[in-house]
């Protein structure tokens, strides 16, 4: 079984996952709301539409691989995994609790469905390159997907991986950059500008697409186009809003890593419901 039993519309699923993220960070006494909320639609599209996988058999040998390199978006990944059936949704409430498998950053040894332990930025794309090389040796027809962030792209290792994937022509590698324009210390443009990303990836031999990272249709079209184009690795630059869906978190640098008080949690949920209604 590779398709979810009930495929909810991406929009309501995204709202559900945003609620999960807020609850986890509220109950867990902290976490990374900004970068989790910005990557929700990307993860929903991957886990509910794009990835070939078996939630009841996480180690299925023919599954597509998904590497979350921006490990601080763990709450978004956990919510997507739970909603997709990898583990009970109730387990999300253990996020950040002492000894929990749902740590603040993903731990592949502790949680089914997590393909890579992540948290130190810059590693994931290289690992994805290795996975794609293994598939090439084994002549597997599956794909490797990776999610990195724009701030993470300041790390030199990202470009080492870009160079290798381009040189090896890994066209079954499809990466997404969550371009939310912020990093821990401020706006990327103010800390250490990395623009223009398109030209950089292009010059390393990648196929580039630029999409609205909160528009599921646009994302799905980009994934489909990437799957159909051979010869080069694929980068989908997804323009997002850090903290998307909660007005007092959106584009606010202090919400990269921040706990939610009970009052803030309630306000965030109300906010989310309001945004939901407005866009529904």
């Amino acid at each position: 079984m590779t398709e979810p039993t009930s495929m909810a519309a991406p929009h309501s699923l995204s709202t559900q996952i945003r609620r999960d993220i807020l609850e986890m960070i509220y109950l867990g006494g902290g976490g990374h709301p900004g970068g989790s909320l910005s990557s929700v639609e990307i993860l929903v599209c991957l886990y509910f539409h794009v990835l070939r996988l078996r939630p009841d058999e996480p180690a299925w040998s023919e599954r597509d691989r998904f590497v979350l390199s921006k490990g601080h978006a763990a709450p978004a990944l956990y919510a997507a995994l739970a909603r997709r059936g990898y583990f009970p949704v109730e387990q999300l409430r253990t996020f950040g609790q002492p000894g929990a498998a749902l740590q603040k950053h993903p731990d592949m040894q502790r949680l089914p469905g997590v393909e890579l332990s992540a948290g130190s930025l810059g590693h994931g794309l290289s690992v994805a390159v290795g996975m794609a090389l293994a598939d090439r040796i084994d002549r597997k027809d599956r794909r490797v997907y990776a999610l990195i962030s724009d701030g993470e792209s300041q790390a030199g290792q990202v470009w080492e991986a870009a160079m290798a994937a381009g040189a090896f022509g890994l066209d079954r590698l499809i990466a997404v950059t969550d371009c939310n324009r912020l990093q821990v210390d401020g706006f990327i443009d103010d800390i250490m500008p990395i623009r223009p990303l398109e030209a950089k990836w292009q010059s390393f031999g990648w196929q580039i697409q630029r999409v609205d990272g909160h528009d599921p249709d646009a994302l799905l079209a980009a994934f489909a186009a990437a799957q159909e184009t051979g010869g080069r690795p694929h980068m989908i630059l997804a323009d997002t809003v850090k903290g998307k869906g909660v007005s007092f978190i959106e584009n606010r640098v202090e919400w990269h890593s921040h706990p939610l008080s009970e009052e803030q949690y309630r306000r965030a949920l109300a906010d989310l419901a309001q945004t939901d209604e407005a866009t529904a």
Binding site: R65, D107, M108, Q109, E115, L116, S117, A118, G119, S120, G122, H123, G124, S126, V127, A128, V129, G130, M131, A132, L133, A134, D135, I137, D138, G156, Q157, E160, A161, M163, A164, F168
Partner: protein, 318 residues
């Protein structure tokens, strides 16, 4: 002492193992002559990847290959595979328990001609402190082949320091089987124990000969398995000989000397003297000259053994 030598025991064994183990892949970072992977590459070009001067990427690509069912061997100079990529090794290899074998060549003072910047004297200390990581330092050509085959056939992260070019044969390959956490006693003796690994092994055997001429019976233990350590043999050395000298081609902080001292301190405290680089950076020069300069010759080992005996109380204090 005289010994037979073998050319490129590592590179030759790697290519042979490639034949027998189709899951074996090899990665380089522009130091292919040092890592001796050309033979493997010529036989299995589709399983060899040269990532260029990009060691961090090499280590994580190796992890990705390993997480997709491959056994990934990736190597460079010992200083780079430990210092330069420590974070990648800790998270993407060790924490993920990926089947990656890290290879360090020209460790310690062995890279004499390249000078201080290339003398990796911290690799054992760094890699030994990482959970899930095994650390091995073969003492000769026999062990190089045996340990390489062991790590290739046993899943999990491991670090292997290997000799480049020629290596002596000090252990008879007939009947030798490497086991992690097991050492080889190459010389019996009850007065003092010399514990060593790698290129310091022949020097310890020479030191034992010299001590013998003075009536001192030195036991020589080749401890190629740094982690897991042969704690039983270390404790026996402490209990039965009461004095230990550890000689290694590494900083005296955190390597084999540190590992032995930890076990001795916790089980059977006796003097443990360390021969190695005394917490300083290296210098350019021939290996033999460097051994003098850094007080790491067989004479220095023998001298340390005498001091250990004094501490033990067997010889009178001056």
């Amino acid at each position: 002492m005289s010994a037979a030598f073998v050319d490129k025991p590592f590179g030759t064994a790697l290519a042979e193992l490639g034949e027998r183990y189709p899951q074996l892949v090899v990665l380089d970072a522009d130091l292919q002559r040092a890592t001796e992977t050309a033979l493997f590459q010529s036989r299995f070009p589709e399983r060899h990847f040269n990532l260029g001067v990009a060691e961090a990427n090499m280590v994580c690509v190796a992890a990705g290959l390993a997480l997709s069912g491959k056994t990934a061997v990736c190597g460079t100079f010992a200083c780079f595979i430990s210092q330069r990529v420590c974070d990648q090794v800790v998270l993407s290899v060790a924490h993920c328990n990926a089947d990656v074998k890290l290879i360090g060549v020209e460790a310690g003072l062995s890279s004499g001609s390249n000078g201080a910047t290339h003398q990796g004297m911290l690799d054992l200390a760094i890699l030994r402190a990482i959970p899930n990581m095994s650390v091995f330092v073969p003492g000769d050509a026999t062990e190089t082949r045996a340990i390489l085959e062991y790590v290739v056939t046993h899943p999990g992260p491991a670090y292997l320091r290997v000799p480049r070019r020629r290596a002596p044969v000090l252990i008879d390959p007939a009947g030798y089987r490497f086991q992690p956490g097991r050492s080889v006693r190459l010389r019996a003796g009850g007065d003092v124990t010399l514990i060593t690994c790698g290129i310091m092994l022949p020097r310890c055997l020479e030191a034992a000969e010299a001590l013998q001429r003075d009536g001192i019976a030195a036991r020589v233990v080749n401890m190629s398995s740094i982690k897991p350590l042969d704690e039983t043999e270390v404790r026996l050395a402490a209990e039965e000989t009461g004095a230990i000298v550890v000689a290694e081609n590494h900083n005296v902080l955190g390597g084999l000397g540190g590992a032995v001292a930890e076990v001795v301190g916790e089980t059977w405290p006796v003097p443990v003297l360390r021969i190695g680089v005394r917490d300083r950076f290296g210098e350019v020069g021939p290996v033999d000259w460097l051994a003098e300069q850094f007080e790491m010759t067989s004479a220095h080992i023998a001298g340390a053994a005498r001091r250990a005996l004094q501490l033990k109380g067997r010889l009178p204090h001056r």
